[in-house]
Symmetry: C2
Subunit: 347 residues, 2 copies
Amino acid sequence: MSPAPRQALLSHIGEFQLIQSIARGFSSRGPRPLVGIGDDAAILSRSSGSHLVISTDLLVEDIHFSRTTASFYDIGYKAAVANLSDIAAMGATPTYILMAIALPSHLKYHDWKELYRGLSVPCKAHGVQLVGGDTSASRSSLFLAITILGQVEPNRGLTRGGAREGELIYVSGSLGNSAAGLACLTHQATQVNTSTLRQPMKFLVSRHLRPTPRIALGRLLSSRGFASSALDLSDGLSGDLRHLCQQSHVGALIREASLPLSPHLVAYAAEMNVDPLLWALHGGEEYELLFTVPPKYQRRLELAVKQLGIPVTAIGVMTPRRSGLRIAHPDGKTQKLLPQSYVHFSD
Amino acid sequence: MSPAPRQALLSHIGEFQLIQSIARGFSSRGPRPLVGIGDDAAILSRSSGSHLVISTDLLVEDIHFSRTTASFYDIGYKAAVANLSDIAAMGATPTYILMAIALPSHLKYHDWKELYRGLSVPCKAHGVQLVGGDTSASRSSLFLAITILGQVEPNRGLTRGGAREGELIYVSGSLGNSAAGLACLTHQATQVNTSTLRQPMKFLVSRHLRPTPRIALGRLLSSRGFASSALDLSDGLSGDLRHLCQQSHVGALIREASLPLSPHLVAYAAEMNVDPLLWALHGGEEYELLFTVPPKYQRRLELAVKQLGIPVTAIGVMTPRRSGLRIAHPDGKTQKLLPQSYVHFSD
């Protein structure tokens, strides 16, 4: 990636490049992090015991969430999951969370409470305590800044940089549900056959508003040493797989026919006349894990996830770097998979 | 404090009450923090070694800073100091920092770099590494969410709750400079005798834009066990002393004649026809430490700070809770000291 020109507008520079440029410009005499900027979370060593995992996230109204499709409870809930998911992607156990919020002054106390109530539910489910916060006014929209902490055994943290050629690519759950769920919410007024679609739409909306942080899976992958790399699907498979390839210096080939699609997604897509693959490949906010597994661990992994009741699917294989990121269609033809994930500053 | 009515507007509820209400509503089966919400930072225990100190802060344009009186470099610099100061107030050593920013898309890459360059300078000076970040778009103004980490020896962390009746109240540095510096910046167009005031104004503006995080003092107070409580002056002496009294369940009496005022503040106030005490008592963003010391440690403390070259001043004494917060005027009369610190949501 070439350095950004000094006077370039931020809208012409991707977030990834911005973050890389921070990492280059900032150094210090202090202890180096084991994993720094550019992964789902940083890993900081301690003199003894488990390592500290930390991630921070700023969620902006009408960029990351909208009050037209989500209640305050929903916004809090999903903010917690997005952050728990970053810890899951490192193979770590979440421990503490902090939330700073900037609130438009016309909001009601009840709205604020609902935001925290939503945040608390997934946190409580994973034994995560709220240990810090800061509330200030905003003259414009609602902002949430969340920091989450976790811990992982030394040398067990999963990063985006560990994938090797020949390894299998896995995803948890099924793909595209969150993006389709958002479509359900935004197109509710559209004429659809709602009696047939009631169940599919209910499922998809629930995946959009109540995603599952894959903590148990992340812990399994790291503690048993099954995965060589992992990240969570927040930008969409095509975009997140690209991050994995870039940081691991490899290519990837995924098989279209292997992508796990829920019957609900297929039913809704058919009614809406949309190719469900578009949602599965490019839809964001899945909070499923994308990870790579050396072939020798395949059987042990699949047995272990079966015992835990976590659905995972092998969707492809890591290839040489020069092959880039490709998708094999059912007819055997392959083509370049271009990321269409959400890019900040692009609008 | 009585519970807030369900439908109350947030503008009628102070930040302190909001944060208290979070702490009540949020609990979990996980490990309890040693110090949770309501102090400058949380303290989290570890199984061995030093304890983890963490604080998070959301800085909002035109609430916490303004681009009319501060450059991007200034904003980054001060954001770092505000957070380093929270770690200093706990008696801890800062280690790592994370910054998530939401940027209006019209900002230039250069502005963004300047923000980070400002942030890096006080961090580098204290050996603090940037280990995480997130950059997203904002449709409105500039937001910075900062999380800072530090470490402190077990049972050495300084809180707001440890002050006892009869202890001495100290502040570092001199008071009111930051608020007066802001006045210099906002009233630059005003007719003042600038040749006489050039030096005072330069000093005051520098205290406003380049405050000093009192890390070395905080470390001295905690490692030698001199202080029973501490916090940093971010809301202004009257407001912050009130927080200390509330959390320690004591009252306080400060002596007007003992308040440390810089000659520059006095000179500028005289020219502007302002009582410098108003700035000293109520001006925010000082980032000096306010701390309490048992009388038996007074001599040892004063010797130690002299050796380190850190100016500290005894300004009063902790009193019984029922006495409240009072100020003694030079004529011997005392009166209630009402906080006039900046209250979010009040405008």
